[in-house]
Subunit: 406 residues, 2 copies
């Protein structure tokens, strides 16, 4: 974690459109029954940009097109996003369709296609209805930005929109970082995609922005799990358009840590919102692992804990069943010395010295009734720390995912 | 997989007590309310034995004691097993208790303690009631073998007992291999242990038996998953007492492949029975992966498919949602070329050439209504094959695992 005083960074009631020079729009083009399904994010000038993508072998067509745009130069000026259809596993036609989305968006904005990123989320293995998409893109050109429209258009069946915004001072200039995300709340199955979009008006050197995004994604978006599967369409994209007119940031800049901390706060906020709105979830589960051999091992253990179906159901059932946490830790491939491990929940120590510890089941049960639950694990091996976020596993999860697509 | 004509191997209606020279008993000693909870398996003579254990860092006390017995020589003559309490995470006292179980069992049988293996399954983090266990062991000494008693005594809340038996001819002598297992069907949480016991009257050299067990466990017991967690108490143990009076088997023996195939059939039967009786399960799911780069990669992909919550819920909902299978394969860290992958279900091809294939949703849905479902994946990379077994994810799973321990 980046150690910076948070006095210099304040959370504000803003969105992805709050940093200077950005507009965000969303409309209904007909891919979904009535909800908005096509979103457009625009910067007034080309913005230094970076993205991280799903590690799945089956990367969807829009991912490939966005990679192509960023390969032609680390600048983007617009992002077009559709929901309802992932355009994944759609072969050559799918790729042509994604390029067509990029081309059409570039046309209505009068910019180079390589300045446009494309993103899709929804059902896997169906071809896009390009007539609707094309008409939709033209309509977007004539549409005024509306609060929350972009955030709604990128959702599949998430139950809430997800946005966050922070402000900080860099060299006497006010810099804003805003973010929007979608997670996986499926009614139609397959719709498990995690998308994150972050904008800032800061001026940043491109290499530094990309490295910061990778580093921060590893401890934010990559540390959440709803059901352990990696979608074909996952993407996190950050744009920095320099409209704040700050002295350009780089890794050697005195105030680089402040910006990076701001970016981390935005990404962590969005990641937690996705975990909390996981399919059928009623609770956010945060696992904090301290004293592991390395930060990476702490992250692995934390993610294993929040990813365990047994832990997830125990939290749903408000059962302080620490044996399941033990099972998750023991199976995590990190360095574990059973005699050194401690498990704490809601201020009580449940396990220590490889033996059960006396604790109040009643207090533990009460604690587990909170909508946000923290599980703290002390490995006592070294200094490594890591945090991961997940949600409980409920009847509703099974219901949502056992429903038919049709 | 071992290629041997199955004509020489026949399945019989037998159990772990069917091979010559074995007795299996089970009684109620009071750890559970009324069901049997203490089992004893005895060979009339010391049997060449081998075992494989959980890879969890938090190995339970009985696992350590069994390892100690087998370290003192590769022979066992008895196995004492209790259910209801795993004797895991119970520190020094737990270890003393497990040694006491071994000692007491040796005493009533008049054999060396190092000829006794100990196994426990049940709640993690509670101390054994040794008074009940000790009385129970004495009672076992005076109890006659009863059909199914051992198999019942090792269950926690599995819904059915699990046994299998095969006969084969080795050098003109009839050899029998029998097996019993328990899986995880929990009402009390924490009770997720997989135990497998295999007996045979074959004479086998000890090194060969151990290597065969390891190899076969990797493609049978290690290829099942109910919820992705590895218990603290998992163990598979095989005993070979030589009472069939066959020429002693070793890896160079002409009929070694026949015996090994028989052992594999026993282990695979038991593994599938465990998967099918997974918590809340209504269906067995078998994933067959062919044409992977290596057998190991095929096994990894197969296990990833049956371990995916999204695949498990889709099968429960009889939804031929192949996008979820794609997601599981794409995330499996094996060698995957999207354009080469094919997915087949119930005789229909759903995905090929990185594109959706036309198929009858109705037929697929009908197929998924079977109690055993096979998903076939062709990687078209090389010759590697692998199979894995799991079960569907149901409301009942959540209900069982969200229940309180008390």
């Amino acid at each position: 974690m980046i150690q910076v005083s948070q006095d210099s960074i304040k959370k504000i009631d803003g969105s992805i459109a709050s940093p200077k020079g950005y507009e965000a729009k969303g409309i209904h083009c007909g891919l979904r029954y009535s909800k908005k399904d096509l979103g457009l994010l625009i910067s007034s000038v080309p913005a230094v940009s970076a993205a991280v993508y799903t590690q799945s072998y089956f990367q969807a067509a829009p991912i490939k097109v966005t990679q192509d745009s960023l390969k032609k130069g680390a600048h983007l000026q617009a992002v077009i996003v559709n929901s309802a259809n992932a355009n994944a596993c759609t072969g050559e036609q799918g790729l042509l369709d994604a390029y067509e989305m990029r081309q059409k968006t570039a046309e209505i904005l009068g910019i180079e296609p390589a300045l446009v990123a494309v993103s899709s989320t929804g059902v896997i293995g169906e071809y896009l209805d390009m007539e609707k998409i094309q008409k939709g893109i033209v309509l977007l050109g004539d549409t005024k930005p509306g609060e929350g429209d972009f955030e709604e258009a990128i959702l599949t069946t998430d139950t809430v929109t997800k946005q966050t915004c922070y402000q900080l001072m860099i060299g006497g200039k006010q810099v804003t970082i805003g973010g929007a995300a979608k997670g996986s709340g499926m009614i139609h199955p397959n719709m498990a995609t995690m998308l994150g979009f972050v904008t800032t008006d800061a001026c940043i050197e491109e290499g530094a922005l990309e490295r910061a995004l990778r580093e921060i994604t590893d401890v934010s978006f990559n540390q959440i799990t709803v059901d352990g599967d990696t979608s074909t369409n996952d993407m996190v994209l950050v744009m920095a358009n320099g409209c704040a007119e700050n002295e350009c940031l780089h890794e050697g800049h005195e105030e680089w840590p402040v910006f990076k901390k701001g970016l981390q706060l935005v990404c962590t906020d969005l990641a937690k919102k996705i975990a909390k709105d996981g399919e059928g979830a009623t609770k956010l589960i945060e696992a904090q692992v301290k004293g592991a051999k390395t930060n990476l091992e702490a992250q692995i253990i934390a993610k294993k804990i929040v990813g365990s179906n047994l832990v997830k159901t125990a939290v749903y059932g408000t059962d302080a069943n620490w044996g399941r946490i033990i099972v998750a830790i023991g199976d995590s491939m990190a360095s574990v010395t059973p005699e050194k491990v401690e498990i704490h929940l809601g201020g009580q120590c449940l396990f220590k010295n490889n033996e059960p510890q006396p604790f109040s089941e009643e207090h533990a049960k009460q604690y587990l009734e909170n909508s946000e639950v923290e599980i703290a694990v002390y490995m006592n091996e070294s200094e490594g720390t890591g945090t991961a976020w997940g949600c409980d596993l409920t009847y509703e999860y099974v219901k949502i995912n056992a429903s038919y697509r049709t």
